[in-house]
């Protein structure tokens, strides 16, 4: 059974609709959530955290519905969203001091480990960090409370190729430790590098949700890269 199950999520906006989005996130696997800008990735992820209220559908985490079990479930999930500035003028150490108290699973050892690994200076404020370092700070918060599932919205956007590569290696490390990593991206090479599963969304509808090999077998033409396959599918050509 998936540790996170998204079931038939529907959200209607005047100019956009999330159409019965369903997929699962498996433990110990990396899932790439791919789609072009405006495909519905962020809306889906926000619904997974009850930040957006779907018109219908539900999200189950660890076998329990999110609604009604928010507090317990959020303790076991780490969330990071790109380069958003939380409290831009507060020092990292001050933000961490406050946040850590909300988690009984907060691990100071892990915090120090990732602080060092990401080469972050905890005396700095988010406003003083580069875009890449902001992503790492957001990840630091998510990783330091031993989250079993990491849900990351566009974690690689704005990063240079070196930092992106470094980050994808970290995902692999976390997977090896048993965590589930779910990250959205519109950069298909990120998926090619580390994802075990692919959830492909287009115009608010899930086109495919399956292991990467199965996706390639079903949709890719001979000698076609994943990027070429998706570009072709985005044009409406689904024939392998």
């Amino acid at each position: 059974m998936s540790i996170v199950e998204v079931k038939r999520l529907v959200k209607r906006y005047p100019s956009f609709e999330l159409k019965e989005v369903s997929f699962g996130i498996e433990a110990g696997r990396i899932t790439g959530f791919v789609g072009r800008n405006g495909a519905g990735k962020t809306t889906t992820i926000k619904s997974m955290f009850n930040l957006i209220h779907p018109d219908s559908g539900e999200v189950d985490c660890f076998g329990r519905p999110l609604i009604g079990n928010e507090k317990e479930i959020k303790k076991r999930i780490g969330y990071s969203t790109g380069t958003v500035n939380w409290y831009p003028r507060k020092k990292i150490v001050d933000i961490v001091r406050v946040v850590s108290r909300f988690y009984d699973t907060w691990d100071d050892g892990a915090y120090k480990k990732y602080l060092e690994l990401f080469e972050l200076d905890e005396r700095k404020a988010p406003v003083e960090l580069s875009e890449g370092m902001k992503v790492k700070f957001n990840l630091l918060l998510a990783l330091s409370h031993k989250a079993e599932v990491l849900i990351l919205d566009e974690p690689t956007s704005g990063l240079d190729p070196f930092s992106r590569n470094e980050l994808l290696d970290i995902f692999t490390g976390l997977k090896n430790e048993g965590a589930a990593v779910f990250f959205s991206t519109h950069i298909i090479s990120d998926i090619e590098k580390c994802a075990d599963d692919i959830v492909y969304i287009s115009k608010g509808k899930i086109v495919a949700a399956m292991p990467r090999e199965e996706f390639a077998g079903r949709y890719s033409k001979e000698k076609e890269s994943l990027e070429e396959t998706m570009l072709r599918m985005e044009r409406g050509d689904f024939d392998a």
């Binding site: 930040l51 957006i52 209220h53 507090k71 317990e72 958003v84 500035n85 409290y87 946040v99 108290r101």
Partner: protein, 217 residues
């Protein structure tokens, strides 16, 4: 709730919210509409909401392992904390003016409202208006601050003007009593202010929790 309050004080609050508590001491100033001090305290709180919005505080809080309604309750708790601090200063100033300085010429010759229990009751009423109109209004969107604050300003200044004017009407002079004159009436008005504050804050918080559950962040 202790952790949420710690977050409010250490991360979300603007230093002005704490600094403007000192406006509670305006209750000492003779010849000045003392209830403006109440408004200045809420101005500091407004700035705090503005600063928190720019720091993405609401979304950050909603992502913490707490129920969404606790984000709202945390804000109300912080606002009430600042209001209670300011009210304490106002109460100290009032107590001194009602006792040691009851016959001070500067206060006796003051044509404006004097600092007494009725003034404290009105201060509580204005704080209640802030919680009801501004804080409740903010949580309809968790983004827009302008309209609820302007509405609050208009109603708060109408209230201040009415409170300042009342004791000039025949028969309402006891509202501006000095020392311990009309203490029973004054005490009753203070309790009425306290009840109005509690009712407005409670109902507004309850409604804001419901609104916040429904909005998309």
């Amino acid at each position: 709730m202790r952790d949420i309050m710690r977050k409010e004080i250490r991360l979300s609050a603007s230093p002005l919210a704490f600094l403007f508590i000192a406006f509670g001491l305006m209750f000492f100033i003779p010849g000045y509409p003392i209830l403006c001090g109440v408004f200045f305290v809420t101005l500091g709180l407004f700035h705090s909401f503005q600063a928190a919005r720019e720091a993405n505080d609401i979304v950050f809080s909603a992502l913490l392992p707490i129920a969404k309604r606790d984000v709202v309750k945390g804000k109300y708790l912080f606002v009430c904390f600042i209001e209670a601090c300011a009210l304490t200063l106002m109460a100290i100033a009032t107590a001194i003016r009602m006792t040691a300085l009851a016959d001070a010429a500067a206060y006796r010759a003051n044509p404006l409202m004097t600092a007494n229990l009725f003034a404290l009751g009105i201060a509580l009423f204005i704080f209640g208006l802030f919680n009801w109109i501004f804080v409740g209004g903010f949580f309809k969107t968790a983004v827009k601050l302008g309209r609820p604050f302007v509405t609050y300003i208009v109603i708060a200044f109408l209230t201040i003007s009415a409170a300042e004017a009342l004791h000039h009407f025949s028969g309402l002079e006891p509202l501006n009593a000095f020392g311990t004159e009309y203490i029973a009436l004054q005490g009753g008005l203070l309790i009425a202010g306290l009840l109005a504050f509690a009712l407005m804050t409670f109902l507004s918080c309850k409604k804001a929790c419901g609104n916040f559950e429904r909005i998309d962040l």
